[in-house]
């Protein structure tokens, strides 16, 4: 059995600060991590590997430094990893990203494709389902549990107020939630092997079977018409006084602003 996992390198939003003037993320000096949903997806694939001996391949599209999360995937136990990288792919929206990923995946053998539900920076949750569409595969989203049963996959799919247990014939694309599991740690020896013995396969434009009109900035139909920061709310003020004083304080404030 062959599993392909799509992972994206994202800025660690726990460490991201917002530029108070421009309202944009300050990316400089922010450590990059493997997107949490994707890491859970990789862990799910590795658990299937532990049980069935499946082969796990991992793909990312991104700049050269995205190699780091592929080494991490190797150190966790992935079998082989692919970095799809080329200037021609830059500036992709979700359509171009998913077209490119689908092209890359089509070069591999696959029974099960796992992506994250959504990336913590782009946040669209579109790439997984779109990739399934390009590959003409069924798609099960929001997986809380993934199990392989013969030539079928059984997925517990999460909704706001309920869950569905869905069974589908392979091949299928599943999008994973970070709540799916607690991803394993890398092993020290796995890290050494990832750097010293294993290879990150690089695929450039020519390697990917995808039309020019579906990649990169020019292949991205989405146009951002306007980008603006959400008004950042000032932190509130905490008054730790008795009831009388607190009420008086509020009344004074309301008077100050002519509300009363």
């Amino acid at each position: 059995m062959n599993i392909v996992v799509c992972v994206k390198q994202v800025p660690d939003t726990n460490e991201v600060r917002i530029d108070p003037v421009k309202g944009t993320l300050i990316r400089e000096g922010v450590p990059s991590i493997m997107n949490p949903d994707d890491k859970a997806g990789l862990e799910a694939a590795l658990r299937i590997k532990d049980k069935t001996g499946a082969k796990v391949s991992v793909i990312t599209m991104g700049p050269l430094q995205a190699e780091e999360i592929l080494r991490e995937a190797l150190a966790m136990g992935a079998d082989d990893v692919y970095l799809v990288t080329d200037r021609a792919f830059g500036g992709a929206d979700t359509w171009a990203t998913s077209s490119t990923l689908a092209g890359a995946i089509s070069k591999l053998d696959y029974d099960l494709i796992i992506t994250g539900r959504q990336a913590i920076d782009g946040d669209t949750a579109q790439v997984g389902p779109e990739t399934a569409e390009h590959l003409d595969l069924p798609n099960i989203s929001y997986a809380q549990e993934i199990e392989v049963d013969g030539d079928e996959v059984v997925v517990l799919r999460q909704y706001d107020d309920r869950s569905h247990r869905v069974r589908a014939k392979l091949p299928v694309l599943v999008t994973a939630l970070s709540e799916l599991n607690k991803p394993r740690y890398m092993t020290p020896g796995g890290i050494f092997d990832a750097y010293r013995e294993k290879e990150v396969v690089q695929w450039v434009r020519e390697d990917i079977p995808v039309e020019d009109e579906n990649i990169g900035l020019s292949g991205s139909p989405t146009r951002v018409s306007k980008s603006f920061p959400k008004a950042v709310k000032e932190p509130g003020m905490k008054i730790e006084e008795g009831v009388e004083e607190s009420v008086q304080f509020i009344v004074d404030k309301l008077k100050e602003t002519y509300i009363l």
Binding site: E72, T187, P188, Y195
Partner: protein, 379 residues
């Protein structure tokens, strides 16, 4: 000369840091308070390959190097020196001598389970009457048929109790002095081998420190490690490696206390401003940071020396001497910067200051480190 860690070292450091913060730090305070050996953390370390970091894959090790092992001890000791010493004593004192001197059969039988994460190791050299003067061993081992018969006791042995495999030193021929000492591998559960009660300690309280007692304890002849009469050399060689682990532990404690102090002085306000605004605070932190970094250079250098030089006693002794004294100095200053809060158990630096002291004592006191260093430069 290149002072940068390689990519694999950086990623390993990240792994150890994540593990330390997520698995070790949350219980550090509690295991100290209750003098509780952290079984659950040991299990997690075993599962993740931490017990075999610097050993070749041939017998189930991780195939990394001494520097990676040092990074593990450092990151873990930054948040919990108890967990640091459990790993250090296991790796450097329990497993390393079998790795270095064991026969292929001994490696298969004893080393593989130790470094693949099934068993825990320990090392018994110190005796009530033989501390710094380790040559004064009173424990005896007499060959009787196909077995050695051990009698005597060891004191202050780290990991004793939880450990499964013990490297034990004993006199096989008293008339030969240090040349009459031999090293043995003793398994937990061997009749005639008991561990005593757990010592209550000033620091590294979660670690198990116990007496080993041997009464007509019979072990197979095949458990002799190295040749008869070579035990003292094996002990000293093993301690050279162990000192790098303890130096890394000390470095971690110091860095941990420095980190806590930097955070605290920015929060704590007196005279209407953070105490970080006082020049005394700034200069104290500058001195602490410089001391920690100088210790780090010596510790990493000793780690590299171990993998590239035939002898590294000098580098190991310097690393341990410097790092342990820095740990005591820096944790002491950290408590000072925390004021009264630093003396209260709720604050980590209180524990760190108690933990630091042992690094100046075990695996050779600072006086012994100075003997090793001066011995080298005067010869």
């Amino acid at each position: 000369m290149d002072f940068k860690l390689k990519q694999e070292h950086l990623m390993a450091q990240k792994l150890f840091r994540d593990f330390a913060v997520n698995e070790v730090e949350p219980i550090a305070q509690e295991i100290d308070e209750n003098h509780r050996f952290p079984e659950e953390t040991l299990e997690k370390m075993q599962k993740n390959g931490f017990l075999g970091i610097p050993f070749a894959k041939e017998f189930g090790g991780q195939g990394c190097d001494t520097l990676t092992y040092v990074l593990a001890i450092e990151e873990i000791s930054k948040v919990c020196a108890t967990t640091g010493v459990i790993l250090s004593a296991h790796t450097s004192l329990g497993a390393a001598p079998i790795n270095d001197l064991g026969t292929p059969e001994q490696k298969e039988k004893f080393l593989r389970p130790l470094i693949s994460g099934e068993k825990l190791g320990a090392f018994g050299l110190t005796e009530p009457e033989a501390g710094t003067d380790a040559a004064g061993q009173q424990t005896t081992a007499k060959l009787d048929g196909d077995e050695y018969v051990l009698n005597g006791s060891k004191i202050f042995i780290t990991n004793a109790g939880p450990a499964d495999t013990y490297i034990v030193f004993a006199m096989t021929d008293k008339s030969q002095g240090t040349r009459g000492i031999s090293a043995f591998i003793v398994e937990k559960g061997t009749p005639g081998f008991e561990t005593g009660h757990k010592e209550m300690k000033m620091g590294i309280r979660g670690s198990a420190t116990r007496e080993l007692v041997f009464t007509d304890c019979r072990i197979p002849k095949e458990n002799l490690l190295g040749r008869e009469g070579r035990g003292f050399g094996i002990a000293m060689g093993t301690l050279d490696g162990g000192r790098i682990g303890i130096a890394a532990q000390a470095l971690g404690i110091a860095q941990g206390a420095l980190d806590k102090s930097i955070a605290y002085v920015k929060e704590r306000k007196q005279f209407g401003r953070p105490i970080a605004n006082f020049q005394n605070t700034q200069f104290t932190l500058a001195t602490m940071a410089t001391e920690v970094e100088s210790a780090r250079m010596l510790v990493y250098k000793a780690a590299v020396a171990k993998d590239t030089q035939r002898r590294y006693s000098y580098e190991a002794a310097m690393a341990k001497l410097k790092a342990s004294e820095v740990a005591s100095f820096v944790t002491n200053r950290a408590v000072q910067l925390h004021g009264g809060y630093g003396y209260i158990q709720d604050y980590d630096v209180e524990r760190m200051m108690r933990d630091a002291k042992i690094t100046e004592i075990y695996e050779g006191t600072s006086e012994v480190m100075r003997m090793v260093i001066s011995g080298t430069i005067l010869n």
